[in-house]
C-alpha cells in the first residue's frame, strides 16, 4: 500500500495505491463548523443532488445511467464529528480492468454531474422533485420516535445539554424543514460549495497521473483554504448529582441510555487508553457489563458501551424490563467503581489489546475501512497504523484505572416500557 497526499487549490487529494481490490473508491469530504440550523438544509441538499441532475432529471434516468456504468455505487450522506458537519459523496466503481477503459472517466464525470450540475431552472431547484423529497424527509424526522433505541439516545443527549452539538438531531428539525424552499436551498447550495474544506480520497489500483488530472478536471471546487478549527468538544461542567429522566412510552421493553462525560484526557489516553477502557466495560460478550448484567444476573439481552472521542463522551445502552431499572443502574455503577478501585485483571487487558490489534489488522482487508482509517486519523489527529500497533501495547492496568476516574455518569434517560409487560 502506498499513500500520497497532494495539495490542491481547494484542499487535499489523498491517493492510496493498492492492488488488493477489484474496485476503485473515491470519497469526497466537505466539512465546516456545525450550526444547528444548517443540519436540515444540508440533509435536504445532499439528498436532492443525488436524486436529480441537469442531465439526468429523474431518479429513474439517473439509476439507468448508474447501472450502465456497471452498477456504480454512488451515495451521499452527512455526519457530525465533534464540532464539524461533514458531507460525503462516495463513488465505487469496478476497476476498468474488468469492464471498459472508458469507465473511470465516465464514472468520475457522473460524480461531477451530481455535485456541480444540479437540476436548476430560474435560479431554483425543481419544484416537483423538491416536494417529493420534502415529504420523504418529513416522514424520516417523524418516524424517529418509532425507533426507541435511537430516540432514547437523542433524548438523553438533549437532557445532558441541549445547547451542545452532540445534542443536535442529525436527522434534522421539522421547524427548519418548513422554512426550506426551492430558492433558498439553491442559494444555500452555492454557498456550501464555496465555504467547505475539501478532502478527496482515492483508493485502488490506478494510474496516478491520469487520476490526478481527472480529479483536477472534473472535481474542481472553488473553496479557498481555511483554518482548521478544533473538532473536539470539551465539557465545562459535569453534573455532581446524576440527572435522571424517565419518559413513558407504549413499547414493551424499556430502553436505557446513559451518558458519561470524559474529562482532561492526556494525548495518550485519548488515542489509546479510553478505547481499551470502554472495551473492558461494555465492548462485547466478554465485557464486564455483558458478563455480569446479562450472564450472571439475566437482566438484559444486550448492554454495551461505546466511546465518542470527538464529543468526549462514553455512551451506554441497554434494553431492560422496567422493574429492573434500579438494579441495572446500581450494577453499572458498581462495575464502574470497581474498575476505579483496581478490580481489573491483567488478562482482561491483554484480551482487549489483542482484540484491538485484530480489528486494526482486519481493517486492511476492506477497501472502505482503509479509507475510513485515513479519514479518522486526519480528522481526529490520530496516529498512523504502524504507530498505533506499537503504542496500544504500552497501555497498562494503571492507565486504565486513571482513565476510569476521568469518566463520570452525567445523565441517565429511561424510555419506560409499558408496565403491563409480560413476565
Amino acid at each position: 500500500m502506498n499513500y500520497k497526499c497532494i495539495d490542491l487549490k481547494y484542499g487535499k487529494l489523498h491517493l492510496i495505491q493498492t492492488k488488493k481490490f477489484r474496485s476503485i473508491n473515491i470519497k469526497i469530504l466537505l466539512k465546516e463548523e456545525i450550526k444547528k440550523e444548517d443540519i436540515t438544509k444540508r440533509n435536504f441538499l445532499t439528498d436532492y443532488l443525488i436524486l436529480t441532475t441537469k442531465k439526468y432529471k429523474t431518479k429513474k434516468e439517473l439509476a439507468l445511467k448508474i447501472q450502465e456504468l456497471y452498477s456504480l455505487y454512488v451515495s451521499s450522506y452527512n455526519t457530525r464529528v465533534g464540532s464539524y458537519l461533514i458531507t460525503r459523496f462516495n463513488l465505487s466503481l469496478l476497476n476498468p480492468k474488468y469492464t471498459e477503459d472508458s469507465m473511470l472517466e465516465e464514472s468520475i464525470s457522473l460524480l461531477h454531474e451530481i455535485i456541480f450540475n444540479p437540476n436548476v431552472k430560474n435560479n431554483q431547484f425543481d419544484t416537483k422533485i423538491f416536494n417529493i423529497l420534502k415529504h420523504d424527509i418529513l416522514t424520516e424526522i417523524e418516524t424517529v420516535k418509532e425507533n426507541p433505541k435511537l430516540y432514547s439516545m437523542v433524548k438523553m443527549l438533549e437532557n445532558m445539554d441541549s445547547s451542545m452539538p452532540y445534542a443536535y438531531h442529525g436527522y434534522g428539525y421539522l421547524e427548519d424543514l418548513e422554512q426550506i424552499n426551492e430558492k433558498n436551498l439553491y442559494a444555500y447550495y452555492k454557498e456550501f460549495l464555496t465555504r467547505s474544506l475539501v478532502d478527496i480520497y482515492v483508493i485502488g489500483d490506478f494510474e496516478e497521473e491520469k487520476m490526478i488530472s481527472l480529479i483536477k478536471e472534473k472535481l474542481n471546487f472553488k473553496t479557498l483554504k481555511k483554518e482548521k478549527k478544533n473538532i473536539y468538544i470539551t465539557h465545562n461542567k459535569i453534573n455532581k448529582k446524576i440527572k435522571k429522566v424517565i419518559e413513558d412510552s407504549t413499547f414493551n421493553q424499556s430502553k436505557l441510555a446513559i451518558g458519561c462525560k470524559i474529562k482532561d484526557l492526556t494525548d495518550f489516553e485519548r488515542k489509546y487508553v479510553i478505547n481499551l477502557y470502554s472495551m473492558i466495560l461494555g465492548g462485547g460478550f466478554n465485557s464486564k457489563f455483558m458478563q455480569i448484567i446479562r450472564e450472571k444476573k439475566s437482566l438484559a439481552y444486550y448492554i454495551n458501551s461505546s466511546v465518542n472521542k470527538a464529543d468526549n463522551l462514553l455512551l451506554i445502552q441497554s434494553g431492560i424490563s422496567y422493574q429492573n431499572f434500579e438494579k441495572v443502574i446500581s450494577n453499572i455503577q458498581k462495575i464502574m467503581k470497581s474498575i476505579q478501585k483496581g478490580d481489573i485483571k491483567e488478562l482482561d487487558l491483554e484480551d482487549v489489546k489483542t482484540e484491538y490489534l485484530s480489528i486494526l489488522e482486519e481493517t486492511y482487508d476492506n477497501i472502505d475501512s482503509i479509507v475510513e482509517n485515513y479519514i479518522a486519523a486526519d480528522l481526529l489527529d490520530l496516529d498512523d497504523y504502524e504507530t498505533r500497533k506499537e503504542m496500544v501495547k504500552k497501555v497498562n492496568i494503571n492507565d486504565i484505572i486513571q482513565v476510569s476516574k476521568k469518566v463520570q455518569i452525567d445523565t441517565i434517560f429511561l424510555l419506560k416500557g409499558d408496565t403491563n409487560e409480560k413476565d
Binding site: 474496485s23 429513474k60 439507468l64 469496478l94 489488522e361 482487508d365 416500557g417
Partner: protein, 425 residues
C-alpha cells in the same frame, strides 16, 4: 480434496467430505489477513416435529432451535467460548433462522487453534436444568425487543397469514410463553438428531492454508468420533397453495402506516426449471417490476405513494414468497398499484440485459470480500445443497425466451396483506 475455480477470477475453492458426512469448503484468499468460518446445521425453528435418535416421534416447543443455539455457548468445561476466541482477538457469534443454525468466527490470529475449538464446542452439548432456566430471562428480553419492532411484527404476522401448517408460521425465537416450556430433554432430542455432521457444513475462507486445515479437520478427535446418522426424518406438511389469511392489521408505535404485501408461490409450478433457475428468473422479474429503474418505482415516487419501499424474495421449504414492504399513508392506492404491476408481466429485452450486467458486476465485487464469499457459499449449501461457483456463467446463460416461459408458469394470485397502523389514532 478437490479444487474448482471461482467464476474464472483467480479464486479457488477446495472441498471434501468426511467419513461422518460433514461437508467442508475452503476458500483461500491470497491478499487478505482475516479469516471467516461458519459451522452450520440444517436445523432451524421450523424443525419442530421429527424422529429423535431413538426413532421416537417428538415435538419441541416453539423456539427450541434458537434456545439451543444460546445454550451451546455454555460448556461443561466451564470455558466460555466467547472468552476462548477473544484471547486471540477472534469474534464469535451464532444465529438461527427457519431452516438452519450457524456458528461463526472471524479474526486474524491463530486460525488452527480457533477452528479446532469451534469444532470442539459445537460438538460438546451441556444442558442442565439450571442453565436452561437461567437462559429464559435473557431470551425473554430478546423476544420483547423484537416485539417492539414493526418490521419484525410485519414479518411474523405475514408468515402466520401465508401458511396453514408449515411451522415457519411461528416466530423463530418462540414466544415468552413457549420458551417457558423448554426443558433440557427438548434440547438433547434436537441436538442428537440435527447436530450430526452428516446434517452439517463447514465453510472457511480468507487467509488460510488449505492443506493444514484439511489435516486438522480430518484428524479432529471429537468431530471424527461422531458416527454418521444415515437418515433424519422430519414431519412432512401438506401445505395448501393458497394463503391462510388475506388480511390482518396491527396497532403499534408508528407514525406512518407500514405495510407488507406478499405472494405465496409454489416451486412445483415450474416443472422445467431447477431451483436456482427459479430463484434467478424470479429475481430478474422483481428487479424489473419494482427496481430503481422500473416505471412502477417512478410512478409511486412521483405520486408520493410511499417512502421506504423494498422488495425481497424468501424461500420457505418448497415455497417462495415475494415480500414487499413499504411505508405509506395512501396504502389503499399503493396496493392497487402493486397488484396491477403483478398482472400481465412483460419484461423488455434491454431491461433484462441490463439487470444481467448489474448482477455480473456484483459477483466480481463480491469476491473482494471474505465474509460475503463465505456467506454466499453457505447460503447456497443451505438452499441448494450445492455451491454454484460459476454464477457469472449462469447469469450469462439466462435467456429471454426461457424467462417468458417462466412467466407463463408464474402464479402470483395467492396474496396477503399486513398493515401496521398507529396505536393512538
Amino acid at each position: 480434496m478437490k479444487k474448482i475455480n471461482f467464476n474464472n477470477l483467480d479464486q479457488e475453492l477446495y472441498y471434501f467430505t468426511l467419513k461422518n458426512g460433514l461437508r467442508v469448503y475452503l476458500v483461500p484468499f491470497l491478499n487478505k489477513k482475516n479469516y471467516y468460518a461458519i459451522l452450520g446445521t440444517k436445523y432451524g425453528s421450523m424443525d419442530i416435529e421429527f424422529l429423535n435418535n431413538e426413532g421416537k416421534k417428538v415435538k419441541s416447543p416453539y423456539g427450541t432451535a434458537h434456545f439451543l443455539e444460546h445454550k451451546m455457548f455454555e460448556q461443561e468445561s466451564g470455558v466460555d467460548p466467547f472468552k476462548f476466541f477473544s484471547k486471540s482477538g477472534v469474534n464469535a457469534n451464532a444465529s438461527t433462522t427457519f431452516n438452519n443454525t450457524r456458528y461463526y468466527i472471524w479474526g486474524v490470529n491463530k486460525i488452527e487453534e480457533n477452528i479446532s475449538y469451534l469444532l470442539d464446542f459445537v460438538f460438546s452439548p451441556y444442558f442442565t436444568d439450571s442453565n436452561v432456566q437461567k437462559e429464559k430471562g435473557i431470551i425473554k428480553e430478546e423476544i420483547l425487543m423484537y416485539e417492539d419492532d414493526p418490521e419484525w411484527a410485519l414479518d411474523d404476522t405475514m408468515r402466520k397469514n401465508l401458511f396453514y401448517y408449515l411451522p415457519v408460521k411461528e416466530k423463530i425465537a418462540g414466544t415468552v410463553e413457549s420458551i417457558q416450556e423448554i426443558q433440557k430433554e427438548d434440547l438433547y432430542n434436537a441436538y442428537n438428531t440435527f447436530y450430526n455432521p452428516s446434517n452439517m457444513y463447514l465453510v472457511i475462507g480468507g487467509n488460510i492454508e488449505v492443506e493444514k486445515l484439511e489435516k486438522l479437520i480430518k484428524n479432529h478427535e471429537k468431530l471424527n468420533s461422531i458416527k454418521k446418522i444415515e437418515k433424519i426424518t422430519r414431519k412432512e406438511y401438506q401445505e395448501p397453495s393458497d394463503v391462510k389469511e388475506e388480511f390482518k392489521e396491527l396497532f403499534m408505535n408508528v407514525t406512518v402506516p407500514k405495510i407488507r404485501f406478499s405472494t405465496k408461490v409454489k416451486e412445483s409450478n415450474f416443472q422445467d426449471f431447477s431451483k436456482i433457475e427459479i430463484n434467478m428468473y424470479l429475481g430478474i422479474i422483481m428487479s424489473s417490476l419494482f427496481g430503481s429503474t422500473s416505471d412502477f418505482k417512478e410512478y409511486v415516487t412521483n405520486e408520493r405513494l410511499t417512502t421506504g419501499f423494498y422488495v425481497e424474495k424468501n424461500n420457505f421449504d418448497s415455497y417462495l414468497t415475494i415480500d414487499i414492504t413499504a411505508e405509506s399513508d395512501k396504502a389503499d392506492i399503493l396496493i392497487e398499484e402493486i397488484k396491477k404491476n403483478l398482472k400481465n408481466i412483460k419484461i423488455k429485452k434491454a431491461d433484462f440485459e441490463r439487470i444481467k450486467k448489474v448482477w455480473i458486476a456484483s459477483e466480481i465485487r463480491m469476491i473482494d470480500n471474505v465474509e460475503l464469499t463465505v456467506d454466499n457459499i453457505y447460503s447456497d449449501l443451505i438452499l441448494y445443497d450445492d455451491v454454484y461457483v460459476n454464477r457469472i456463467e449462469l447469469i450469462k446463460e439466462l435467456d429471454i425466451k426461457k424467462l417468458n416461459k417462466f412467466i407463463k408458469c408464474l402464479d402470483l394470485t395467492n396474496q396477503s396483506l399486513v398493515m401496521v397502523l398507529p396505536k393512538n389514532k
